[in-house]
Amino acid sequence: MKRGTLIALAIAIALLIALPRIITHEFYINMASQCLIFAILALSCNLMLGFGGMVSLGHAAYIGVAGYTCILLTVAGWNPLLAAIAALMVSTASAGLFGMLSLRAPGLGFLMITLALGQIVWGIAYRANNLTGGDNGISLPARPQPFGFDITGATSFYYFTLIVFAVALFGMGRFARSPFGASLMGTRDQPRRMRMLGHNVWMVQWLTFVIAGFWGSVGGLMFVYYNVFLSPHALTLQQSAEILLMAILGGASSLTGPVVGAVIITLIKNVASTYVERWNTLLGAIFIAVIIFMPLGLVPGFRALWQRFASRNKPKPTAPAPEPAE
């Protein structure tokens, strides 16, 4: 890792740890937790979008499958840890099924199938009143106590979310640099060539779908722990689109891009909306501006600007002095 990256990473870690002491207001600490939860969701969506070239409009389905499973099992008297593990398993298995269906069609067809699957999960959540509480939603009796730690308060929950986020970021970072990640990016760029190099393109894409589903489920579970409640409003098409937008806005080709996108969109949704009535218009305007000026997203865009700036300030090599005439 480069020295500059290490310094930036150290500063980011220090800031994230010190955040509840800097912004002491509970509202903003909760906002920071929300940013981290949506960052996990955006990162997981980006595994498919940025590294795999698969655009999904059904990612919010994992919030639903993981969230409802966890709540229903907890209400049924399961141990919260077992309920969480079961929820992750059920949701990841559903990702496996969704992947099998979605990968039958490339490009736009893939997008439409993921959208349809997301809508099916939303429809079930909306209609299955006995199970999900329908439009009214259902509540989680209480936040769990991982290893005996109480995460009821805003600060303790923030630190719990920060740990989960750090694990997710590290896991997905390793994924991106791994042999599997290299195969995935190859299938994104040249699927035909990758087949001729011996790679099973379908299997690589399907496994990515499943891994993204797993991390999406982790994000979904954290979403439920944060709200202690789940209703179909959390699984709408708009929610899936926002997660996708977070990845695109920040920069789908990078690891940190979706995190930046998640922070910006969550802040605009929750903070700017208290001052600006038409916050959706503001979000749209920001998105259009970013796409026009930084088509690859904010992080790659600013990185390119920085490189241009750095190269301009570099001293130019001086021409060699002419050799003296004999």
Binding site: S178, F180, A182, S183, D189, R192, R195, M196, G198
Partner: protein
């Protein structure tokens, strides 16, 4: 001896247009086979049928006795088939080293590992450098493909194919678009490929190709019309009529 490649009654139609018609021939292990024919004769289609890029309507392709028809492309590669493309198919934003690593990964079970760091796998790094070294590109290993010359990219394609240690190598116009100097370099490279690799090559540069080939198959309108040793095919009046001219 089991043929390296045995093609029997291979047919492919694109709508009403027959691309290959009842193509049959065998290539023995270690052989250097040249496929020639005018544009549109079905040469690249034949390669695509062998690799599985296209699905055959009828017929059989056997690689050392294994039936390839109906088998996914990647499995054919695992059986020892490799190819280069007429239109370069590389990963232009990546380094030359990474391109070769993708070729090596294709046959390595580590490709399923989502946890280890690829750049830290020293054995793979060394193997990729060795493959690049064979085609004289090791000093450019860290350069991005998009910044290299056409000739270097041709050599990279060859390095990727050879890195997989194939049993049968299909070369689709490996000299196309190269300058005279580059042609000499690539031709010399082809001669260094060991005899345990069977080579089937499509090439229009007849001076180089004839020097390289041991047996030649002439395709015309998707049919094999002449097949034999270099001398037999060149002497055949049908070869002059449809391809070489007077």
């Amino acid at each position: 001896m089991t043929p390296a490649l045995a093609i029997d009654g291979l047919n492919k139609r694109f709508g009403g247009l027959p691309a290959t018609r009842n193509v049959s021939f065998t290539v023995m292990p270690g052989e250097r086979r040249l496929i020639i024919g005018p544009n549109g004769a079905g040469k690249t289609t034949l390669f695509n049928l062998m690799t599985g890029d296209l699905t055959a309507d009828a017929g059989s392709v056997r690689l050392f006795g294994h039936e390839l028809i109906g088998m996914p492309t990647q499995k054919r590669v695992h059986l020892g088939l490799a190819r280069t493309y007429q239109i370069l198919t590389l990963f232009p934003k990546e380094s030359l080293l990474h391109n070769v690593k993708l070729a090596l990964l294709g046959l390595d079970p580590v490709r399923w590992n989502p946890w280890t760091v690829l750049s830290a796998r020293t054995a793979m790094n060394d193997a990729a450098h060795a493959a690049l070294s064979k085609v004289g590109l090791d000093s450019s290993a860290d350069r991005i493909v998009a910044e290299t010359s056409y000739g270097e990219r041709r050599r990279l394609e060859l390095a990727m194919a050879l890195a997989q240690k194939p049993k049968v190598l299909l070369l689709d116009e490996p000299l196309a678009g190269l300058s005279q100097e580059e042609r000499k370099t690539v031709s010399a490279l082809l001669k260094t490929i060991p005899r345990d690799v069977t080579i089937v090559m499509i090439e229009h540069d007849m001076d180089t190709a004839l020097e390289f080939a041991e047996r030649i198959t002439l395709l015309h309108y998707g049919e094999v019309i002449v097949e034999g040793s270099r001398a037999e095919v060149v002497a055949d009046p049908r070869t002059r009529e449809v391809y070489l001219g007077d």
